[in-house]
Symmetry: C2
Subunit: 242 residues, 2 copies
């Protein structure tokens, strides 16, 4: 297929990975809704890549838990069940709270980045750009995990939050009081920067609690259209025996 013959910027990424990136974005922004079936050939040609490349990209996303594949039946954008929400928030509590409590000597750089994300979040909310607000929100929380100083944990946590983000984008548009969340984030940041780690953890815990309540309510309300695919639905990503 005819490509733009640019050598944009010495790409270090394979086309397949770029395609995975494009799809990931479309899923996370809600442009591709959960449950949507994805056909290999139309999707591949719409992006100007071959079917094999598209398959590689889809393999990536299905391992990330953003797509679910059942053999010979097709691929669809993953859907979050109430159980998924419960799992994810249990992990958030476990990992974010202990991260904050481990933040004895935060680096200037790290704090600065957190503050910047609070600002971005505020700007996005005020601008009404909900997709971008959700992104800043989750990036903020993801950055908290960095206090554990463990790359594996960080990449796992980003994967977890990506799954959540997929649900949040659809969910929170009609949020009653978004400016309140700005204050909450800012206060979490300030307590952290002031070294009041226990208070910070407490604030964070309450924030997570409210967040889970809100999203799990909406998710279970949306459980109407989920009556197809009666087969046993695996909520965890593809995996093999050890």
């Amino acid at each position: 297929m005819g490509e733009s013959p640019d050598l944009r910027e010495l790409r270090r990424l394979s086309v397949a990975d770029e395609v995975a990136g494009v799809l990931r974005l479309r899923i996370l922004t809600g442009e591709l809704r959960p449950g949507t079936a994805l056909l290999e050939i139309p999707l591949a040609s719409s992006l100007g890549v071959s079917r094999n490349t598209m398959r590689e990209a889809m393999k990536v996303l299905s391992l990330e838990g953003l797509l679910t594949r059942s053999v010979h039946r097709g691929i669809a954008v993953a859907e979050l069940t109430p159980q998924d929400i419960r799992d994810i928030y249990q992990l958030r509590r476990m990992l974010e709270l202990s991260a904050v409590q481990a933040a004895e000597h935060p680096s200037k750089d790290h704090l600065e980045r957190l503050r910047s994300l609070v600002d971005q979040y505020e700007a996005a909310v005020r601008a009404g750009d909900w997709t971008s607000a959700v992104a800043s929100d989750l990036q903020f929380h993801s950055l908290l995990i960095r206090f554990h100083n463990n790359r594996r944990l960080e990449s796992f946590y980003q994967k977890v939050l990506r799954e959540l983000r997929m649900g949040m984008v659809l969910v929170d548009r009609g949020l009653d009081n978004p400016t309140r969340l700005i204050r909450v984030h800012r206060s979490i940041y300030q307590l952290l920067a002031a070294g009041k780690l226990q208070q910070c953890a407490a604030a964070l815990a309450q924030h997570l609690e409210e967040s889970e309540t809100r999203i799990s309510k909406v998710i279970s309300d949306h459980a109407w259209a989920r009556n197809r695919m009666p087969g046993p639905r695996e909520s965890a990503p593809e995996s093999k025996a050890v």
Copy 2:
């Protein structure tokens, strides 16, 4: 390539996933040593599959962290750095200890499975089957995580332990005192079953400490053959920006 025309047992797995399974096993048993370069075409034809299928399988394993790929330069079995060991054991402490402490009301079935793995471990050690011993060992620890009752966490943890297992198989053949580890495992199990969770956690903590010391010593000793690939080596699995 000529296949066996059997319909063995209505396979629910794609060939690509089966191939991934074969390679995973070869890596985890140490048949494929860390650092080994993998060529697509020879490997594919040796398993009787096409190159595309082999690529899909390799994509899976590289996302699992068992293979490292650098564009246009090839794929190799991943190597554990001392930093990796540190990360992994930090996670093990964080997740296994809290799991044990959460085991207030263990199910009969769960306890039974743990006990069975202790037995398997003992049998493997006595039989001198080190590969299988390592497998039982890590399965035991992986099963501890189940007390968290969180599928995402469980599948993440299995991935982490797989990375570790790759290193352990090469490492521990000349272990000075393997029967001592049998006693340690058994005592961890017994404390758990007796509900003495704090003592159990303490024993587990010490066990992990010794284990880390032992393996990190051997890993850093083995750091001689690691002088190729001077480029920036990513130890975390492939990932994209959020």
